[in-house]
Subunit: 313 residues, 2 copies
DNA sequence: TGTAATTATTGCGAGATGCGCATATATTGC
DNA sequence: GCAATATATGCGCATCTCGCAATAATTACA
């Protein structure tokens, strides 16, 4: 805890006087009241008074001044480096903050599920960098649960995740729906279909993501409601792995549409999966009662602008 | 040169606001406005306004606050360490200065001729240390000329030297007269005399200090006025050497009285030297138009109190 | 030596600032 | 829903701070 004293002079309470110290530094640097006053955009009169006030506050003379020139006292010489450091630090810190405010400059942390980090973030970040070339985004890629936790406990200012159970202290805005689709090689008999139903598929050569992921949990829940279950399927941890297995001809996969852009992999087809259409909602997460930094806010706005609510992937 | 900006908000010029930053730090540390207000000895109302002013000045929120509790924003978290450092540095620096003023605390440089450094300084410094145990005196021992130079160009705040030609920018207060005396062993024929005249001495076994010192130059000048000259004398650089030679029986010496306290060396006598009495004046030197640090001023006062003007050694 | 130029200080009035008191408003806990 | 707690706001007053004009002190130059 910083020591705090209430310093008095002549009975009156006087506050620590940054202006006075700044005045002292500028006068010492420029060697005169007039030049210093000009640089500080005040009259020389006011400057005189600032110095007088500071000196009376400290009970010390910092400047020996005749009408002809100004010179540091012994105490002033000793204090100057400290004063200079204080002024420099202060103006620098305040300058940084004003930059943050004025130009939405600064860094922030974004928590994001890996799928989205791979699919939508690159474009968003490139777009963001156009307007904010110096802003660094610390990326926290984690499961949908962890994303929400990170936002809740302020490890991240923003989160991109999958809609799940509502948490009261989070604000979640839907970005787009991300339907599950069927992925197969073009040699697969189903590859030419406009859409595939769940019953069209055989469990045997099916690849799904592990039941530890939100995607899988969501899928199981949606299917269970309709009396469908997948039992014989392969399980993998990552969507990218699933795609690779499909490409290698191991089997077919059920993955969110956004996992894969048409043409990413030669020979792999992405086909709508219906009866029912199962889709997860991608959401942008912020914390309630928590003010975003301008940098994060700018990103937040960009995301919302890029994905007007309800659009599809 | 420190960058200086005049920051505006809504057309009004706003000064950098140390109070606001301090308020922010204290609130962040204590976790609430009320506790912080108490520590700062202002009302919670005033504190609220300080924070509001700071935030509006920066264009940023630093604290997310409901009526129930206070929490740092992302920007606030980032700023807190800097703010803490600024506040700590500022209060520490100001505290040091107030200590300097209130308790005459601090260090200073004293230039002094070696004779006086050896003879009167020890007592003075011991006395000074009683009231100012933590104050360090940087001692610059040098010739009388160098002492004046040091004071003139502010290498030293105070000087103790020998009266010479007046310099316009120095203030010199006489401390005591320091007459030249005759030093001999008690075996010397002159040793029992109440006083010795210049003509009583024989040049042959005389020891004087080198003509590079102020003492010697002064002595020569005073004697020349009266048509006396010493030609056959030994010359040494230091007063202490001369005393040792006397003690060893090499000869007799002419030295300032203050060189030697009665009883310093067994077998050595100090006898007044008259016709004429030649005495140099020991002076305390300060620079005109130059404010002393409280620490130096205290020493200055002590010296003047110890040697009321005109006293003898 | 005197006069002009330069530089800091002081008197004064006007406007801005900052504070405290009383009150309002919002959230939590029972 | 009510009491308790904590921050925000309306308002008036005291003080601060500024700028202008005039003063004082020192230097430079004629």
């Amino acid at each position: 805890m910083v020591s705090r004293e209430r310093l008095t002079k002549g009975g009156k309470q006087m506050k620590i006087d940054f202006d006075g110290i700044q005045a002292f530094v500028v006068i010492a640097e420029l060697g005169g009241f007039n030049k210093a006053a000009e640089q500080l955009h005040i009259t020389q009169t006011a400057l005189t008074r600032r110095v007088q006030k500071l000196e009376s506050y400290l009970g010390l003379k910092l400047l020996d001044r005749t009408t002809r020139y100004v010179e540091l006292t012994s105490v002033g010489r000793e204090f100057l480096p400290q004063a200079r450091a204080i002024v420099a630090e202060m103006t620098a810190a305040v300058g940084r903050l004003k930059d943050m405010s004025k130009y939405a400059r600064g860094n922030f942390t974004l928590a994001c599920v890996p799928t989205m980090a791979a699919q939508i973030l690159p474009t968003l970040m490139r777009e963001y960098a156009k307007d904010h070339p110096n802003n660094r985004i610390r990326l926290l890629d984690a499961t949908s649960y962890e994303v929400r936790d990170a936002v809740l406990n302020s490890q991240a200012e923003l989160g991109i995740g999958i809609l799940g159970e509502q948490r009261p202290d989070l604000t979640e805005v839907p970005l787009f729906d991300d339907p599950l689709m069927f992925f197969c090689r073009d040699s697969n008999p189903l590859s030419e279909m406009k859409s595939v139903t769940w019953s069209d598929m055989s469990d045997a050569d099916l690849i799904v993501v592990s039941n530890l992921t939100a995607t899988r949990a969501f899928m199981d829940y949606q299917l269970a409601k309709r009396g469908i279950s997948l039992s014989g399927a392969y399980e993998v941890q990552h969507h990218a792995t699933a795609i690779s297995l499909v490409a290698a001809g191991v089997g077919c996969a059920i993955l969110p549409a956004s996992t894969f852009q048409e043409g990413d992999r030669p020979g792999v087809r992405r086909i709508p999966l219906v009866s029912p259409v199962v889709k997860r909602k991608v959401i942008l997460i912020t914390r309630k009662n928590s003010t975003l930094s301008p940098a994060a806010e700018a990103f937040h706005d960009l995301v919302k602008k890029t994905y007007p609510t309800g659009a599809r992937a």
